[in-house]
């Protein structure tokens, strides 16, 4: 049984009538509970719950302190190739876009790694587009091997692999996987993925689970907020994280809440997610899954990111460039999307300290 069955079970769920049945008393009762269930979680994503944001924030903050303390882990993504054979309507790297393509050589990866390691970061996440010709699994494994020399934790955000391929990259030094479903709604998924292997919904949906079976240490999942009504996407993200955590208790599961950003693509059909809604999602997730990590990327503005720190964030990116070779090379490939918080690692650390939290560069190493 895979998460797809859980998705199917709720696919035709009548969200609107569920939401219209939620009362203030329901929300108060849920917030008084020690442990909430999936429908309580959905209730916290309702319009009714929006009026209770402050109480939700208090509860979420308490749970975050219990489980994670006043510490925020810093990492940075590193783009090593932007070749892609997919046509995702919302992404600047899509094969139909005429952008400058680049793929780093082993020497360039090393150079980029040194530049990033010099900022003090010890956790890296490296990314490629999907291109079996330009970025085959062997290229990913090789990159992991190089990065392992400079970082204590090496994550990948690449196209979905088979279980055996995940084992291969894990052996090469990868310890964490980020794979966003982008959109859980299968119909919209089909609409925004116009061409390429990424059109295979369930192969992507089950990617985190294949990595868990291959004994990865941590997985990070999420929906690209803006492609569908946020309450539904947030609900499925939470269910998915809960499913993985229950089935693979030794894997650290975390979620990201990326909002769609301006990019070199053409996609216009956006469901806006405002600042308040993003906070509501984050708080509801924290209350539902107190032990799950939450990542907030530089897609968000700096003041907004700072305000989110005490509410349940556990990981933040810093010193980000979405361009291939963007940390060390003059000859960069084009970026995936525009970032909204340009602070470097030192500035990010100061901002975290100013909020009364400890910036952590390293909280993992493999043995």
């Amino acid at each position: 049984m895979s998460f797809y069955q859980y998705y199917l079970a709720h696919k035709d769920f009548d969200f609107n009538s569920f939401f219209s049945s939620i009362t203030t008393t329901d929300i108060e009762r849920i917030l008084a509970k020690d442990k909430i269930n999936a429908y309580d979680f959905l209730s916290l994503l309702s319009p009714q719950a929006e009026k209770h944001l402050e109480s939700m924030a208090e509860k979420a903050q308490k749970l975050s302190l219990q489980h994670f303390g006043k510490a925020i882990l810093l990492f940075t993504p590193m783009y090593i190739a932007n070749h892609c054979i997919n046509k995702c309507a919302y992404c600047g790297f899509n094969v139909g876009n005429r952008i400058k393509r680049k793929k780093l050589t082993a020497e360039e990866i090393e150079q980029e790694a040194k530049a990033i390691a010099a900022t003090g970061l010890r956790h890296i996440l490296f990314l490629t587009g999907e291109s079996p010709a330009q970025s085959p699994v062997s290229y990913i494994a090789k990159a992991a091997g190089i990065l392992k020399k400079h970082f204590h934790s090496v994550g990948i955000e690449i196209y979905p692999l088979t279980e055996q391929e995940y084992s291969q990259v894990i052996d090469a030094g990868v310890d964490s996987l980020t794979v966003y479903q982008e959109v859980y709604d299968e119909g919209i998924y089909d609409k925004v993925h116009l061409a390429g292997p990424k059109r295979n919904y369930s192969f992507r949906l089950d990617a985190p689970e294949r990595a868990c079976r291959a004994k990865i240490r941590s997985v990070n999942i999420g929906a690209l907020l803006g492609l569908n009504e946020w309450c539904k996407e947030a609900f499925f993200t939470g269910l998915h994280a809960d499913y993985l955590q229950n089935k693979y208790p030794d894997v650290a599961v975390s979620v990201s809440l990326p909002r769609i950003r301006p990019h070199a693509g053409t996609f216009q059909d956006i469901f806006p997610v405002n600042d308040k809604s993003l906070v509501q999602i984050m708080l509801a997730l924290r209350i539902f899954l107190p032990y799950t990590g939450i990542t907030i990327s530089t897609r968000e503005r700096q003041e907004y990111r700072d305000h989110l720190i005490p509410l349940g964030v556990t990981k933040m990116s810093a010193g980000v460039s979405t361009e291939v070779g963007g940390h060390s090379s003059e000859d960069k490939g084009e970026g995936q999307f525009e970032i909204a918080d340009n602070r470097n690692v030192a500035k990010m650390k100061q901002a975290i300290l100013a909020k009364g939290y400890q910036p952590v560069s390293k909280d993992w190493m493999s043995f």
């Binding site: 302190l65 219990q66 489980h67 994670f68 303390g69 006043k70 510490a71 003090g120 010890r122 204590h152 955590q245 229950n246 208790p249 030794d250 894997v251 650290a252 599961v253 032990y291 300290l353 009364g356 939290y357 400890q358 952590v360 560069s361 390293k362 909280d363 993992w364 190493m365 043995f367």
Partner: protein, 258 residues
């Protein structure tokens, strides 16, 4: 306060503290001074050797005993590798075994912990295993060479107090090595209660680290530990839980003996 002996080392403080979850590393030495702790645990996975500014070891006063923990270990093998690395890096030969393969409640795996304890004790480590309070598991850890056992009062970070009281009481009665209550102590009175019960020491992290004033909270815990210990020594010196009546009910049986 009466000294506590762990693995042949005499200590004047019965409060151990953890270094995770603090708002900054700079506050850690102040906390240590405020509560006069002598044993400080830290996740080796957080130690960034070589990076001066980010290395937590830089913030731990020289006189303290470092107790690296094997946080993140999912089985005995991993715990053993982390412990060996800690020693190789100069963190001494004390180690707190934490084998946790459940990311939800962070409950320890006693069986793997026993295995790791056995291997590391043979290699000369002073092994302090973090455990679920189970008498047989604790006995096996002691047989395997544990210098103390560290049962949880409640799951890590929950601040719920000593929810496992009845089980810990049994460990205190039956286990020969020090019993250090670890995890779950949310307030100074929980620590006092632990000490009144006869625990040898307590380990506190979340309650101090996430309070509004960690230095003051550390002091409060330190006082509570002392008060609880004094109470234990003054009132409950004997381990029996049945009152010794001043005129025993069965005294008449022995009257002829006089």
């Amino acid at each position: 306060m009466d000294p506590l002996s762990i693995g042949g080392v005499e200590l004047n403080s019965r409060l151990l503290i953890g270094t995770g979850k603090f708002p900054s590393k700079q506050i850690i030495p102040k906390v240590i001074n405020a509560c006069e702790t002598q044993i400080v645990t830290m996740a080796l996975r957080r130690v960034d050797i070589g990076a001066d500014e980010d290395n937590i070891l830089e913030y731990i006063p020289k006189g303290c005993i470092l107790l690296p923990n094997t946080s993140g270990a999912r089985d005995a093998d991993e715990a053993v590798r982390i412990a060996r690395l800690a020693r190789a890096l100069g963190a001494g030969n004390w180690v707190k075994i934490e084998v946790i393969s459940d990311n939800k409640y962070l409950l320890p795996d006693n069986q793997e912990t026993i295995k790791a304890t056995e291997i590391l004790a043979k290699e000369g480590f002073k092994v302090l295993p973090y455990m679920s309070p189970d008498l047989m598991a604790a006995k096996r850890m002691v047989e395997a060479g544990a210098a103390a056992v560290m049962p949880l009062g409640a799951p890590i970070g929950t601040n719920r107090g000593i929810k496992t009281k009845e089980l810990i009481r049994i460990l205190i009665d039956e286990i020969e090595v020090p019993v250090i209550i670890d995890a779950g102590l949310g307030k100074p009175s929980d620590a006092a209660e632990a000490m009144e019960m006869g625990a040898s020491a307590v380990l506190v992290n979340t309650a101090i680290a996430t309070s509004a004033d960690p230095v003051k909270m550390a002091q409060a815990f330190s006082l509570a530990v002392k008060a609880g210990r004094m109470g234990y020594l003054a009132k409950m010196g004997a381990k029996t839980r049945y009152a010794q009546a001043s005129s025993p009910l069965t005294g008449f049986l022995f009257e002829g003996d006089k």
